[in-house]
């Protein structure tokens, strides 16, 4: 009888051991990948024209992407064409890395809803794109709500134009700009019935914590690009997600060329 119990326990424990290890590393042979150029350019009023251009990588290729050094790049606005030569030296205050930029005297003007045209020539092939800068939408107020565990949620209120289709991004940084991003929402105003809009997230903050909220008023192409990036990232790892390709607004190149405007407000919770 003791033996029978022992065998039964052995069987049960074997079964339990076999339940483990649902996930394992495997080798996948991917087909050869053509390293399509990748470009990221944000037109920020008052800042020089600048962008990042490099070759995208095969999925299991090396870690460091190869910059494209010999591209001929210009941005045209109100008939004025500004060249962006290769220049990868970082400047003070740069949050992003750029390898093409205009001279420091050529700044992006505050011309809302007017066309900026991009031309990129790589190995004799020219790629074009066009975008605008959206008017800043200001943050009306920030308010907090804390629970009995001293965890707080933060909500932002702003006014949405009722007669236009607008796209927003809402980032909440912990402590200061450049701190941890605690919340990141991308949304369009199709959901909103009222002019006054409120967005609230979860209880991600400690009572007394300092936060900075940045509200972007985005172009449609920027919104579409970010949504496709999210979808593409979600499709990798989610068996129920729809496969997604990146929605670039530069035909022939992966990437985004867009204006960038935002309003900041900080709040200590």
């Amino acid at each position: 009888m003791v033996n029978k119990v022992r065998y039964l326990l052995l069987f049960v424990s074997s079964m339990l051991l076999l339940q483990c290890n649902f996930e394992k590393e495997v080798t996948i042979e991917l087909p050869a990948y053509t390293n399509t150029p990748y470009l990221e350019c944000y037109l920020e009023p008052g800042k020089p024209y600048r962008l990042l251009l490099y070759k995208s990588l095969g999925y299991f290729e090396g870690l460091i992407p190869t910059p494209i050094r010999d591209a001929n790049i210009t941005i045209t606005h109100r008939g004025v064409t500004i060249p962006l030569p290769y220049d990868s030296i970082p400047r003070d205050g740069d949050l992003r890395f750029y390898n093409y930029r205009s001279n420091d005297t050529s700044k992006v003007p505050t011309h809302y809803d007017e066309a900026f045209d991009l031309s990129v020539m790589i190995n004799g092939v020219t790629y074009h794109s066009s975008s605008t800068i959206k008017k800043i939408v200001t943050i009306d107020s920030l308010y907090k709500n804390c629970n009995n565990e001293a965890r707080c949620q933060l909500a932002v209120r702003f006014k949405d134009q009722m007669n236009t289709v607008d796209f927003y991004r809402y980032l909440v940084f912990s402590d200061s700009l450049g701190g941890d991003i605690k919340q990141d929402f991308i949304l369009n105003d199709e959901l909103f019935d009222t002019e006054e809009v409120g967005i609230a997230g979860g209880y991600n903050f400690n009572d007394g914590q300092t936060t900075v909220v940045r509200l972007f008023h985005m172009t449609k192409e920027h919104y579409d690009f970010l949504v496709s990036v999210n979808n593409s990232q979600n499709a990798n790892g989610n068996p129920f997600a729809q496969p997604a390709s990146i929605k670039s607004n530069i035909p022939g190149i992966i990437g985004i060329f867009t204006g960038l405007t935002y309003d900041n407000k900080d709040k200590t919770l």
């Binding site: 996930e23 996948i28 496709s228």
Partner: protein, 760 residues
């Protein structure tokens, strides 16, 4: 062992008198509820070469019957009926006491009816057969058993979703006693809503569709419920690993009103709630969400007189997911509710009319409440339907005609949200309505000695924004090459006017039905099939081989990255294209003897083409499966022990994997993220899927009734079948990527389960 319960056969027989040799024709019904008895074996005592099985209407025909022979009718679980042929009279009623199913010995040719029928591409499965096979978590699931037949694939590991001859999960029509079921799944598709205790049989049509069916491109799954016993009470039940079930049937007014009720419920939530309570207050403990599902089936039959019955069918099922902590209350519920009443009138032994009124509703509701903010999201479909079908057997003709009408109401992503102070409110959502229907006529008749032809025509229509209509010709031909060999061919056209927004291999509760209109247009399929079938080795074995080609027009898919959740403008996410599926199916079956089972093999191709996807090039559908093999064996060792085993093998699913990547700096530039680049749709294959399950049933012999202990071992050799593959970025301690790897995820390891079943 004789059951203490009593079941009866109600047999309506008619005969065409002929001195020495005559034709016997009739309908066999379960006396308890007057429901048609499908698959009953009808044969003769002396002339063993003559025999058949009843069709889905309980109908049979025997030719060349000698007047001095004895007619024998057998069915598992019912008493064998023996009637001298010369004593047969029209409208003969016979009441018999049943015996235990173990004691039934089936003789004759159980395949004769199939060989004589024009119907091809059809599978009939009884609940009793399904209960003999091993099951995941011990939950007998008829839809999963259907997946073991050729031409039918699952959506993935453990899923009860059906992909029939290259059709999508949205292209199956599920009918419960003629009432449409819009989401046939519990627990994200791992279990079907059809409780094996409540179901008598399922017939699945994958081609050669009878004219009475329409509305979906790829299959019709016609589920017939158990109507209950009119004279005595029976209690069925089972206690399993994840759920328990109970079914009670019997008379309410003896001989006049009877019925059955079957319920089941999972109970993992009872344990998780207890665990959550015991850990309450611990700072690092995250409560486990509650999850359970339940369903209830109700059947009532009212006997107006010997020729007229009213049947009431009801189903209510719900999946409930709840999560609550200090800050957040999340509730997610989904389920079907349907009800219908049918008037079945046996005008005479050769004429039956069935008229049904029904309503079917499916919806899900997601609700989230925060202290100062809340939202709820609802989607669903409701249909009100009326139908009437008439069947008349006259000489060598079987006429059928009918009319169907449905009114649909769709709720598309109705979102309501706002702050508790009422200052911020927003809402979203669309309500759509449509009306559709169909009229059909068909005739099955013998032409010359060897030909049987079933020709039908269906006219279907749908109205929302625009009026759509189409003619759907149906043709099935059987050429009896020899008594035991038939060659069959069929052609069917089907229209589908409502569409399911589903883009995964799983049946998700958030899948939304959407009607045709200005967009999307109705889908259409044309299918041809050719095959042959024969019985051999003294009718011990049956073999069939079918070849099919299906072309689909205006099939739906979704643009890359489509947002199907919280989207009331789904029409903007649809893309329209074409599809084709073709292949060969091989099926070998043994129905008699101590060892029974089947082997099914399918070789197939399924492709899609959309202008907006994959640069407009053809690509394999997710469920394109080159090879699909299933082996099912059941062996009855003695009156106490029986064993069963299944083995399945299938080519891996077609999937999309990224082949490139880039770093997105994004607007803050502080934390670049890796973004995968997808190119070709479904260009990769998961590893081949294979699995073996085994089951052992030990039958007790209690004085009070029947009981058994069923051991099911799912995935007995613990194969790690790939559910999906993803690519992972491996980072160092400074959060810097150091390498990229591919990982595969498996779902179910070996799972042994014990289930106790009883019948009293």
């Amino acid at each position: 062992m004789v059951w203490t319960c009593v079941c009866y056969l109600f047999i309506l027989l008619s005969q065409e008198s002929n001195a020495q040799s005559e034709r016997i024709e009739g309908i066999i019904k379960d006396h308890s509820d007057s429901s048609a008895m499908i698959g009953a074996v009808v044969h003769l005592r002396n002339n063993k070469s003559i025999g058949t099985t009843t069709d889905q209407d309980g109908h049979f025909v025997l030719d060349h019957v000698a007047s001095n022979d004895v007619l024998i009718i057998e069915n598992i679980g019912y008493a064998t009926v023996e009637i001298p042929v010369d004593q047969l009279t029209p409208h003969l009623n016979i009441y018999l006491k049943s015996i235990a199913r173990d004691e039934v010995i089936v003789e004759g040719n159980p395949y004769k009816d199939r060989l004589e029928s024009t119907q091809m591409s059809t599978i009939t499965l009884t609940s009793k057969e399904a209960k003999l096979l091993p099951a995941l978590f011990g939950e007998v699931d008829l839809l999963k058993t259907l997946q073991l037949k050729p031409g039918i694939q699952s959506g993935g590991e453990g899923s009860s979703g059906l992909y029939v001859r290259g059709g999508g999960a949205d292209q199956n029509l599920f009918l419960l006693d003629g009432i449409t079921v819009y989401n046939p799944s519990h627990l994200f598709g791992f279990f079907s809503v059809f409780n094996a205790d409540a179901v008598k049989s399922i017939t699945l049509y994958k081609g050669g569709f009878p004219a009475m069916y329409g509305g979906r491109l790829s299959s019709v799954v016609d589920v017939h419920t158990n109507k209950g016993d009119s004279s005595s009470y029976t209690v069925n039940g089972g206690i399993g690993l994840i759920s328990s079930r109970l079914a009670v049937e019997g008379p309410i007014v003896k001989g006049k009103l009877w019925g059955t009720i079957a319920v089941r419920r999972t109970y993992a939530d009872i344990f998780t709630r207890a665990l959550n309570k015991s850990q309450e207050g611990k700072p690092d403990y995250d409560p486990i969400p509650d999850y359970y599902f339940y369903d209830a089936n109700l059947q009532l039959t009212y006997k107006i007189n010997n020729k007229n019955h009213l049947h009431l069918t009801g189903y209510f099922g719900k999946d409930v997911f709840k999560f609550k902590n200090n800050n957040n209350t999340l509730g997610f519920q989904w389920g079907n509710a349907l009800a219908g009443v049918s008037w079945v009138s046996n005008i005479d032994s050769a004429t039956t009319m069935t008229t049904t009124l029904s309503v079917s509703d499916y919806r899900y509701k997601l609700k989230n409440e925060l202290p100062s903010f809340s939202f709820s999201l609802t989607s669903g479909i409701r249909d009100y339907a009326a139908s009437s079908h008439l069947k008349k057997v006259y000489r060598k003709h079987t006429f059928q005609t009918g009319i169907q009408l449905s009114r649909y109401a769709f709720t598309i992503s109705r979102l309501q949200a706002g702050s508790s102070d009422g200052k911020v409110q927003f809402s979203n959502g669309t309500a759509l309505y449509g009306t559709g229907g169909g009229i059909y006529v068909s005739d099955e008749f013998n032409w010359r000695a060897r030909w049987i032809i079933n020709a039908g025509l269906r006219w279907s229509w749908f109205y929302r924004e625009k009026f759509f209509q189409g003619l759907e010709p149906r043709l099935q031909v059987n050429y009896r090459l020899k008594e035991r060999i038939s060659i069959k061919a069929s052609y069917s056209r089907m229209f589908q006017y409502i569409h399911l927004a589903n883009n995964s291999g799983a049946s998700l509760p958030t899948d939304i039905w959407y009607p045709s209109g200005t967009t999307p247009a109705p889908q259409r399929s044309d299918q041809v099939a050719l095959g042959y079938e024969f019985s051999f080795l003294g009718n011990k074995l049956f073999f069939s081989n079918e070849y099919y080609y299906k072309y689909m027009k205006s099939v739906l898919d979704f643009r890359d990255g489509a947002q199907l959740f919280v989207n009331d403008s789904l029409q903007r996410e649809f893309v329209f294209g074409k599809g084709e599926s073709y292949g060969a199916e091989f099926y070998l079956e043994k129905k008699q003897g101590k060892t029974t089972g089947w082997i099914g093999y399918t070789l197939s191709w399924t492709n899609r083409q959309f202008a907006e996807i994959n640069q407009g090039n053809w690509f394999p559908a997710r469920y394109d499966r080159r090879h699909d093999l299933s082996v099912v064996v059941m062996h009855k060792l003695n009156s106490r022990f029986s064993f069963s085993g299944t083995f399945v093998y299938g080519t891996g699913q077609a999937v999309s994997l990224p082949i490139g990547r880039f770093y997105l700096q994004d607007v803050d530039g502080v934390r670049p993220t890796t973004v995968p680049i997808y190119t070709e749709r479904n260009a990769f294959r998961l590893p081949a899927y294979h699995r073996m399950d085994v089951g052992v049933v030990y039958r007790f012999k209690p004085k009070w009734g029947e009981a058994d202990l069923t051991l099911s071992i799912y995935n007995v050799y613990n194969r790690r079948n790939t559910y999906f593959i993803y690519f992972e970025e491996i980072k160092d301690e400074n959060d810097i990527p150091v390498r990229y790897v591919a990982k595969q995820v498996a779902l179910f390891p070996i799972i042994p389960t014990l289930t106790f079943n009883f019948k009293w």
